[in-house]
């Protein structure tokens, strides 16, 4: 490692604090929300099997569609995160790094 930084000083930089807060709220918020949705699968299929048996399209039932919805949800979270990270977090990080160096 070529350069050494004053870590404590950076940690008090207002730009850094803003980035840190934004990241934390976003990441842990989405993580919690998607976990809640994910754990609905074993909970609903295990404790509410009647719901999973409900036929929706022809013979295809709620359970099958709910599993597919998990795929859609994962795509959705990945998409949202990539957008926010590319547009917001990376930009804030670049600004901060430029200010320090």
């Amino acid at each position: 490692m070529a350069t050494t930084y004053d870590w404590g000083n950076i940690a008090r930089n207002p730009k850094y604090l803003e980035l840190k807060r934004k990241k934390r709220v976003f990441l842990f918020g989405w993580w919690a929300a998607s976990s809640a949705f994910y754990f609905m699968l074993p909970v609903l299929s295990g404790y509410f099997p009647e719901l999973f048996k409900m036929k929706i399209i022809g013979v295809v039932n709620f359970g099958y569609l709910f599993i597919l919805s998990q795929f859609v949800a994962a795509f959705f979270v990945a998409f949202i995160y990539t957008r926010v990270a590319n547009n917001q977090f990376d930009r804030l990080t670049d600004e901060l790094v430029r200010e320090i160096q």
Binding site: Y16, L27, S45, V59, N61, I67
Partner: protein
């Protein structure tokens, strides 16, 4: 120079192994044994590895005495394809060996893998023989329950994407020990982290080796010993000579082949179904064979219940997964354990920065979701077009479903198309095994060479040459140990090992990594607490769980069979030959197992769940918090600013290429 001569030696070795494989005459394998052993379900990091727990014990004992049907790949075509795969991967190794000169090259491919490439490699780590063969088999026998397993691996990417990959890339270097030892007592933490990594990777590796041995035994009709040694030699060769670069590229090639095979199969299924998914599922529900299978083999209703739709039942949960709590526990192991697996963690360091790490996870998520979705079509297609009866007659656990389907959709047994497609899918399964085991060897040897040798014994002061040499020697040793353990474990129930690897990663590694990155007060005592308590409780719970083999249970089951059949006899029925054989076998099983105890001396499981994470994760987490608060460490708290700034901004990131 050295590399070249070793490459030549290695080439020779693997060719000899392959040549041995080509001579079935010398290998007297009883074919019935080969077909009735569970194969792929035991193997992988992937979905179907857990469900097999229940299945895998039984086939060995309850192998039906009737003459089993066999998968018969065309030897000439299959061996040609295997050789082609070996040849291509060896070229990759030779190419990678030339560029592997520093420790960063060996452990992290010099940071020269792009996010897109790394995404394919990570996806490859998830797509094991277990998911490719085992999960489709499970769907073909138990319907929607098999598909539910696909969600865990897919969801595990969310935790990795949001809170693990980028921070780890920013703050780490090569191994788990690098991340954890940042602001803690480095020697202690590295030591514990290395032991944990080696444990997890070896557990996993042995399960893979045994699965690989059994699968190759069936596919190529060669002895178990030869297939384990063959796979082992190739795996060691890839890692020792090519390091991370070769391992990654072998994984990428395999993932490409696997996706090609999967897409092709799924498209053929859909074409056969007239491209109409709704009528496809209607046909499944309406299939007389599937209805009979659900009624007689799964639900064991000798007389049909009036008005009960057995076909529709195939699309409803609960045929295979019976305990919701176990499901939740497995869900936790997946959601958090995958993020703590050392061989997955290592992959984040092969890309140059956090942005590429992010991209690689998104790519992996897309590839794997597509893969698991297609596997669901293949599994249901196998049920409809082959019938569950045929699939389970070839292999009780359903592991041969994908292979049989390839043969059928390619044009049927004996036709050129059928033989070609079957051989291709077999070769893909072979490549899959090779790629997955190589990654595991690399992770285990990195922990020993980088954490223990370089950083503990040498205090971080070893030149590049010595580091690479040590890493190669360790890889060789780990590989040899894995081969021997794979040979020794042939008859063992290795399924518990996969459950264990995930549980340890979720209960020990995951809290340690997360708290290191996000909790200011976290320190050496907390890390050691999390790793030790998480690991010990996970191992302890699995040892007393239903994953283990309980002779008394086998004896009791055998007793039931004996009683039923003897009652029949007493009533004056003359038993069919099949029933007589079953009776004889049950008597033998009863005699052998009655009064027996499991490995830890139990007659019945103490802990009711197969997956311990629901208990062991809170224990690991609690230990981490408690030990941290009991032994405060000012230095760790003072250094938190540094690790936090690093993980958030990427400042001072370890450039895998400069030293």
């Amino acid at each position: 120079m050295l590399v070249k001569s070793l490459s030549a030696l290695f080439l020779l070795l693997s060719l000899t192994t392959a040549a041995m494989a080509a001579e079935p005459v010398k290998s007297p394998v009883p074919s019935s044994q080969a077909t009735s052993t569970p194969t792929a379900q035991q193997t992988g990091p992937s979905a179907a590895s857990q469900p097999s727990a229940a299945k895998a014990v039984q086939p060995a004992q309850a192998a039906s005495p009737g003459a089993p049907v066999k998968v018969k790949p065309n030897r000439a075509i299959t061996i040609t394809m295997f050789m082609a795969i070996i040849a291509v991967t060896l070229c990759v190794v030779v190419w990678a060996a030339k560029q592997t000169t520093s420790a960063a090259d060996f452990y992290a491919a010099g940071g020269g893998i792009t996010g897109f490439q790394n995404g394919w490699a990570i996806a490859g780590d998830y797509m094991s023989a277990a998911s490719f063969l085992g999960m489709s088999g499970l769907i073909s026998l138990y319907g929607i329950d098999g598909f539910m397993y696909a969600v865990g691996p897919m969801f595990s990417f969310i935790a990795i994407l949001l809170v693990v990959a980028e921070p780890c890339r920013n703050a780490g270097k090569f191994t788990l020990g690098d991340i954890l030892s940042f602001r803690a007592a480095p020697k202690t933490v590295r030591g514990v982290a290395a032991i944990s990594t080696v444990t997890v990777s070896l557990f996993y590796l042995i399960a893979q080796m045994v699965g690989a041995g059994k699968l190759m035994q069936v596919l190529l009709d060669i002895p178990y010993r030869v297939s384990v040694i063959g796979v082992g030699v190739l795996m060691v060769g890839y890692v020792v000579f090519g390091g991370m670069k070769a391992t990654t590229w072998v994984q990428i090639i395999k993932a490409g082949l696997l996706m090609t095979g999967t897409v092709l199969l799924a498209v053929l299924v859909m074409v056969k179904a007239g491209m109409n998914p709704i009528s496809f599922f209607s046909d499944i529900v309406g299939s007389q064979m599937i209805q009979d299978h659900v009624r007689m083999n799964v639900l064991k209703d000798a007389i049909p219940k009036a008005g009960f739709d057995y076909g529709q039942r195939f699309l409803e949960p609960g045929l295979f997964l019976k305990n919701p709590l176990d499901q939740i526990s497995l869900g936790i192991a997946w959601a958090l354990g995958a993020a703590g697996l050392p061989h997955i963690l290592m992959r984040f360091f092969t890309v140059p920065n956090a942005k590429e790490a992010r991209k690689s996870i998104v790519v992996a998520l897309f590839i794997n979701s597509t893969f698991f979705f297609l596997i669901n079509l293949i599994g249901f297609g196998a049920a409809l077009y082959l019938t569950p009866q045929l699939i389970s007659s070839v292999d009780k656990g359903g592991n041969m479903a994908t292979l049989l389907l390839a043969q059928k959709l390619g044009g049927g047994a004996g036709s050129l198309g059928g033989d070609m497609f079957l051989a291709f899918i077999c070769a893909v399964a072979f490549a899959t095994i090779l790629a997955v085991v190589s990654g595991l060897v690399l992770a285990a040897s990195a922990a020993i060479a980088h954490d223990i040798y370089v950083n503990i014994i040498k205090g971080g002061k070893a030149d590049q040459k010595a580091q690479v040499r040590t890493a190669k020697i360790t890889s060789l040793c780990v590989g040899i140990i894995a081969i021997f353990m794979g040979l020794a474990a042939e008859k063992e129930n290795v399924v518990a090992l996969v459950a264990l690897a995930f549980a340890v990663a979720a209960s020990g590694n995951f809290p340690a990594v997360m708290l290191s990155l996000f909790w200011k007060r976290f320190n050496t005592a907390g890390i050691v607490g999390a790793l030790v308590i998480g690991t010990v409780s996970a191992i302890g719970l699995v040892m007393v769980s239903p994953n283990m083999t309980y002779p008394q249970k086998i004896a009791n089951d055998a007793k039931k069979v004996i009683e039923t059949l003897e009652k029949k006899q007493a009533e004056g029925t003359v038993l069919a030959e099949k029933d007589m054989k079953a009776l004889e076998k049950a008597r033998g099983d009863f005699k052998k197992n009655d009064g027996g105890v499991s490995m830890v001396g139990l007659k019945a499981p103490l802990f009711p769940l197969k997956n311990p994470a629901i208990v062991s994760l809170p224990l690991g987490l609690l230990a981490a918090i408690l030990f941290t608060l009991l032994f405060r460490d000012r230095r760790a708290e003072d250094m938190f600013d540094e690790i936090e700034v690093r993980q958030i901004t990427g400042l001072g990131i370890a450039k895998a290429s400069d030293h």
